[in-house]
Amino acid sequence: MGTTIGIWIAAGLTLFIYSFLYKDNPFYKFAEHLYVGITAGYWLIYTWAYVIQPMLLDPIIKNKEFILIIPAFFGIIMLTRWFPNIAWLSRWSIAFTVGMGAGLGVTGAIQGFILPQVQATLIPLSGFNFETFNNLLIIFGVLTTLIYFYFSKEQKGVLKYGSKIGITFIMIAFGASFGYTVMARISLLIGRIYFLLSDWLKILK
């Protein structure tokens, strides 16, 4: 019985959301507000149960890890925004978080993107075959794409043509990525329609 009610609710809400494809309407509004409200509440509880309690309260109370009072302080001063007189205090936390993100981003980018990508472009060119042609295409594509992202000079002459070829490579890559992702989205749609026809309407077995 419980499962049946659940399926009806899920099917109803699915149709409410899909009704947006026609136009904004009260059914969509209901489903939207329900979804937003439930997820906001869920994340509040999630943050308490999986972040504040196990990573802050329990270590301080049970393990006496008083060093955690420092991040807790930065967290609490974020709430000073409710009090205009001391609202400026929240900027400390923001500054710390943004600075930390930017700093970590530099080493993360070097290690995760720049060096591996440069290394991956150093590819052998042996013999006159299709693989060599393919590798040459990769090297040429990377070089011209980098030219496209060169901002300090006006795109004239070699830079202009390099940049045009670069953006062509980018667009070809986007086209391939677009098709690939659309395929994945279609499979999500099929999954939803299958749920409606199978679990709900029992048309499909």
């Binding site: 974020m78 150093l122 980018i170 990525s177 677009f178």
Partner: protein, 430 residues
């Protein structure tokens, strides 16, 4: 009758259980018919370049032992035994004793450990394993158990794990970081000294003013969506910088900006940015912090909420600048359906095609970072763009050098250049 039956059943079961012979572990001697097994040794050492808490065990695997298995038991200096691994093929050649922080039996730095290896042709039974872990008096040699034989190797030397001060495997990262830092310092210094630095026109950014102006004329608000990134994500930081420029234009045109946020910290930061921009434009009175609101931290909940807001508020211009994932097309398509001018930008390559398809202008990857500089044209920020471009030239030079070395080494088979290519390739390894 029942009682007699149960009595007989109990007696039968008792006899059945105790009449079964217990398998006996028998020491067959130190010698083994196979000299290769006898000479098999495990080398244990601290894992270099790590943060401690890890020991590496290596061995040579002769072809003749390819069908054998190895099980390894760790014994610490207090005599505590822990099973490291059981029945892995000898051909695997190595195993690492690295446990997670939560693991109670994890390897602890500065504590001594010995390892005993057990070679067998068959999988070790649970029963034997229990004996090895509980009561077995480890001694090198050949043993039999349940008609199976196995060989206990000599124990490894006592080994200690320790944390390394420096990870030499990431030397390339340090060198790159130094080069990047020095380049930035050089160009920032140039900018400080007043050198005129140039930034080329970025397509789409001239449309910012047009988009804000059009919205104002139509009496519609502007919507600025920062995506589902956190304030520690670089695209979100870039999005916030562009927000500052857009908000300034909004204040100058005396219109309204809506910023629905996914993350509370991003929302707080966005409030600060918009407030500062309005103050800079001389219109702090127009700033309304409720226009920068929190929606939810659920990806599709956020998408549903923002879509609904688009349909009701009907913004004249929508900026999608930040970190976007699967919700990108849902947002961009809804914005397109209400006829808003859309200017998007993200570094997520998988989402950029959707923005290119559904938005009027798209800032691709680094263009987004350059956009904030283009809008502001502040000398220090221009310096950072010039530094980035110089670094791109270095990267292009490495690629061209790699291409030439590869052509000469692999294409024309000149060994010297092939070696140079390999050195260059290894130098970039992280």
């Amino acid at each position: 009758m029942k009682k007699i039956f149960f009595f007989i059943l109990s007696i039968s079961l008792f006899i059945l259980i105790f009449s079964q012979e217990k398998p006996i572990l028998t020491f067959l001697g130190e010698d083994t018919p196979d000299s290769i097994v006898k000479n098999f040794t495990i080398d244990a050492s601290d894992i270099p370049n790590d943060g401690g808490g890890g020991i590496e065990l290596k061995w040579d695997s002769p072809e003749i032992l390819k069908d054998w298995f190895i099980s390894i038991i760790r014994i610490d200096e207090d005599g505590k035994r822990v099973l490291l691994t059981t029945d892995i093929p000898i051909l695997s050649k190595q195993v690492r004793d690295v446990n997670s922080e939560e693991e109670p039996d994890r390897v602890i730095d500065s504590k001594g450990y010995n390892y005993w290896g057990i070679l067998s042709k068959k999988f070790i039974t649970e029963e034997l394993l229990q004996i090895l872990l509980d009561t077995f008096d480890f001694k090198e040699g050949l043993y039999s158990f349940n008609d199976d034989t196995f060989f206990v190797l000599s124990k490894t030397q006592m080994v200690y794990s320790k944390a390394s001060w420096f990870n030499f495997l990431r030397l390339a990262v340090l060198i790159s970081l130094i080069i990047i830092s020095l380049t930035f310092l050089y160009y920032l210094n140039l900018a400080k000294k007043g050198k005129d630095l140039y930034i080329r026109k970025i397509n789409g950014l001239d449309a910012v003013e047009e988009a804000v102006g059009r919205s104002t004329e139509m009496g519609k608000p502007i919507m600025y969506i920062l995506g589902i990134g956190y304030v520690t994500d670089i695209p979100t930081i870039a999005g916030l910088t562009i927000l500052g420029r857009v908000a300034k234009k909004v204040a100058e045109y005396e219109t309204k900006i809506l910023v629905p946020s996914y993350d509370p910290v991003v929302m707080t930061t966005a409030q600060e940015v918009v407030k500062e921009a309005f103050t800079e434009a001389g219109r702090p009175d127009l700033y309304n912090k409720n226009d920068i609101m929190y929606i939810t931290q659920d990806q599709f909940g956020y998408a549903a909420g923002v879509d609904g807001m688009m349909m009701r508020e009907k913004p004249g211009a929508i900026f999608l600048q930040g970190l976007f994932f699967a919700e990108s097309l849902i947002l961009a398509e809804t914005g397109h359906s209400i006829g808003a001018i859309q200017i998007s930008g993200t570094t997520e390559t998988a989402q950029l095609p959707f923005f290119v398809a559904a938005c009027d202008y798209t800032l691709i990857g680094e263009e987004m970072m350059a956009a904030s500089v283009y809008l502001q044209k502040e000398p220090m920020m221009l310096g950072s763009i010039a530094a980035e471009d110089f670094l791109k030239v270095i990267i292009m030079s490495i690629l061209v050098l790699g291409f030439l070395l590869s052509f000469l080494g692999s294409g024309l088979k000149i060994e010297f250049f092939k070696n140079l290519f390999d050195i260059l390739y290894q130098a970039l390894q992280v």
